[in-house]
Symmetry: C2
Subunit: 180 residues, 2 copies
């Protein structure tokens, strides 16, 4: 696809407490068309392995990269002319600014908070965006954000080099092995 | 709003393992316009309290109900002329059937799996719907599903009797107390 790159940055991962939510966040990033995720906080081999397993079975080239310093990741992103979008319930409503975001040809880094979001994030972001101004989940916020940003074309994404593929059914499960 | 009721049914909650993901799922249900959730599996006072706290601060009348038997909840829903939509990566693509779902005036019960989804769910559901045929998260699946079903009007929802309310900002946080 000839479109700006989209990466997600998960802040402050905690191995024990966040393992499932972070895994869900990474898989949602992959399923809804992001190219990869960075994460800061505690490095976590298990979360990385979960994503690798999904890539192996279901295809695609989704990447996971640990970053020791989220600030450095953000400034490198901006230096290479990318934009930074921070998802927060305190930001401007998604529906009011998404068309402006879609028009911008720049690569997008979507920053998603963990436990406590450092205040500096609000200032460093080009956009602070609220997917509703209600508390819910970074997983649903990111899913709906990417779905809006990509206007639903992410739902049609084909993942290359998959070992298996689902054949949609009105009832039950049908999975076929794909030829390498 | 003069529209069919929307409830979510979370299957097989496990107190220890699922507490955060289930809380995220319930809050996403609330934020994206569902009227309430049922859940089966282990009863969990902490998850219920988390939602009550959010209701108190941020308003609305979102309900959480525990059900000992999900089958009974599903059959009662169907008996009172409601429809059942099961979210599963094996189902029919959201984008192909959402307009049919929107046209149906019936109340909707959205069934969302836990660890292992009993096979019977596929047969009892009126619709098995895939929000992508990729593995991700019930939280992102539900968020995007409700956002599509309600065509984005859920983003404008006002929650009544809130103690506080966010005033969207391009940077930083602004929360105001609301008058009772």
């Amino acid at each position: 696809m000839n479109r700006p790159k989209i990466w997600v940055l998960r802040l402050g991962h905690r191995r024990e407490r966040d393992k499932r939510v972070t895994t869900h966040l990474f898989l949602a990033s992959r399923a809804f068309g992001a190219d990869g995720v960075f994460y800061s906080g505690e490095r976590d081999g298990n979360v990385e392995k979960s994503v690798e397993k999904v890539n192996k079975s279901w295809g695609g080239a989704f990447e996971v990269k640990y970053c020791r310093s989220w600030k450095q990741t953000v400034s490198e992103w901006k230096r290479s002319s990318g934009e930074v979008v921070h998802l927060t319930m305190y930001g401007l409503p998604l529906q009011e600014i998404v068309s402006e975001l879609r028009r911008s040809p720049k690569d997008k880094l979507i920053v998603v908070g963990g436990a406590k979001v450092p205040g500096a994030v609000y200032g460093l972001a080009d956009w602070n965006v609220a997917v509703t101004s209600q508390p819910h989940s970074e997983v649903s916020a990111l899913g709906v954000f990417l779905h809006e940003l990509l206007e639903g074309i992410e739902l049609l994404k084909q993942f290359k080099r998959a070992e298996c593929r689902i054949v949609p059914q009105p009832r039950g499960k049908k999975v076929v092995k794909t030829n390498p």
